[in-house]
Symmetry: C2
Subunit: 111 residues, 2 copies
């Protein structure tokens, strides 16, 4: 039996960037937000999350800053950059183009 994936591969960076359009947020909060808004369908494992955040930093799509949370915990807050916002737009367009194309294949009638 094939196990259900936690994510659609290739969509994690987009989901993180989108989450950061609301406000700067730390990694743990990003993962929580994605899980909650998706009604528990999408789960971001730590082993996927932190490498993804490193990628985004390296690309200059987010910047990071250590701060204290409301509950007095040390956390690294990520903020979307201008380039990151642009990148999000590109990724969303491409994603929509892809799922529309997949939709055409899936809806193609047999017989």
């Amino acid at each position: 039996m094939a196990k259900k994936p936690d994510l659609l591969p290739g969509t994690l960076d987009m989901l993180i960037l989108k989450t950061l359009t609301r406000a700067p947020l730390h990694g743990y909060g990003i993962a929580q937000h994605i899980k909650r808004i998706s009604d528990d369908v999408l789960t971001v494992e730590e082993g996927s999350l932190y490498p993804a955040l490193q990628r985004l930093l390296l690309q200059g799509w987010v910047k990071a800053e250590w701060k204290m949370t409301e509950t007095n915990r040390r956390a690294r807050y990520y903020t979307l950059t201008i380039e990151g916002r642009k990148q999000l737009g590109l990724e969303v367009s491409e994603f929509e183009r892809m799922i529309a194309a997949i939709g055409r294949v899936l809806q193609d009638q047999e017989a």
Copy 2:
């Protein structure tokens, strides 16, 4: 600049299985069909296609048979099995569940 992917990772098996609901077909024809029906958005590279077909055979979701094409060429025709049809249903449900969840994240309003 990130290169546009040819496919959304994780969706190829589903696309192949769906293509085979129409009629048995050889690998080359499957790739052509997906490309055509998707309006050239989805391109299945040979290095993705043939390993995918091996996976599907191994899982018992398709069976294969060598035949001659209409143009008198030797080709391996793949046929969807009962299990393959069932699997397709599962994969389509899961895919739709995922994209609906991603849609909720993407549509979440900032501000």
